[in-house]
């Protein structure tokens, strides 16, 4: 293998690692958020039937 192809291979490897790292940074927090959602429920602050199969939880700020 020539020196040039070694360098090309190394750059390719580094690029793949960078893309993988970026994907981890972007995707992991969303996945974690989805998996760890555990909330208390105040019936006063619920709109719609309590037994609905889909729950939309909104975290919001009035200001």
């Amino acid at each position: 293998m020539t020196r040039r192809s070694w360098i090309t291979g190394l750059w390719t490897l580094l690029a793949l690692l960078a893309v993988g790292f970026w994907a981890l940074l972007v995707l992991l927090p969303a996945r974690t958020a989805s998996q760890s959602l555990s909330i208390t429920l105040n019936p006063v602050m619920v709109k719609g039937p309590l037994a609905a199969p889909v729950t939309i939880v909104e975290f919001s700020d009035y200001q």
């Binding site: 927090p29 969303a30 974690t32 958020a33 989805s34 998996q35 760890s36 959602l37 555990s38 909330i39 208390t40 429920l41 105040n42 006063v44 602050m45 619920v46 709109k47 719609g48 039937p49 309590l50 609905a52 199969p53 889909v54 729950t55 939309i56 939880v57 909104e58 975290f59 919001s60 700020d61 009035y62 200001q63």
Partner: protein, 138 residues
């Protein structure tokens, strides 16, 4: 927009509101506490909508005036607001949000799947339909 979704899925979707006042919004916390006080008087959602319409006018006088406009008895409301009766429950909501990885508002979860920012109607619809398909196994 969420009202549109609730109308479209009247028996399939429920909305749960969680308090997440941001630290740099000086008046937000008292507004959230006032909404809880309105809830204790049976007018949570009316007050909630009033606050969003009136933001950022959330001085103590404003908050009391909004309650009066909705027919909420003044004395118990003011007592609730001044005693910060719901402070701890709001803190619980904030902690739950932080544990869920929230970094900004609004942040939504559709059956646990996050949707950050002012997401369009179509994004909600897609997640709702997906959740309903998962439920029916199709």
């Amino acid at each position: 927009m969420l009202d549109r979704i609730l109308k479209e899925y009247p028996s399939q979707v429920r909305l749960v509101f969680k308090d997440f006042p941001l630290d740099f919004h000086a008046l937000a916390r008292s507004a959230h506490e006032a909404a809880r006080c309105a809830g204790a008087a049976g007018k949570y959602w009316e007050y909630h909508d009033r606050l969003f319409a009136a933001q950022p006018a959330f001085s103590r006088d404003d908050l009391i005036r909004y309650a009066a406009e909705l027919g909420i008895a003044r004395e118990p409301f003011v007592q609730c607001l001044d005693s910060r009766r719901f402070r701890a429950l709001i803190e619980t909501d904030i902690q739950e949000g932080l544990q869920a990885g929230i970094r900004g508002t609004p942040t939504f979860f559709v059956n646990g799947r996050p949707l950050a920012g002012a997401a369009p109607y179509e994004a909600f619809k897609e997640l709702i339909e997906e959740a309903l398909r998962e439920r029916t196994g199709r």
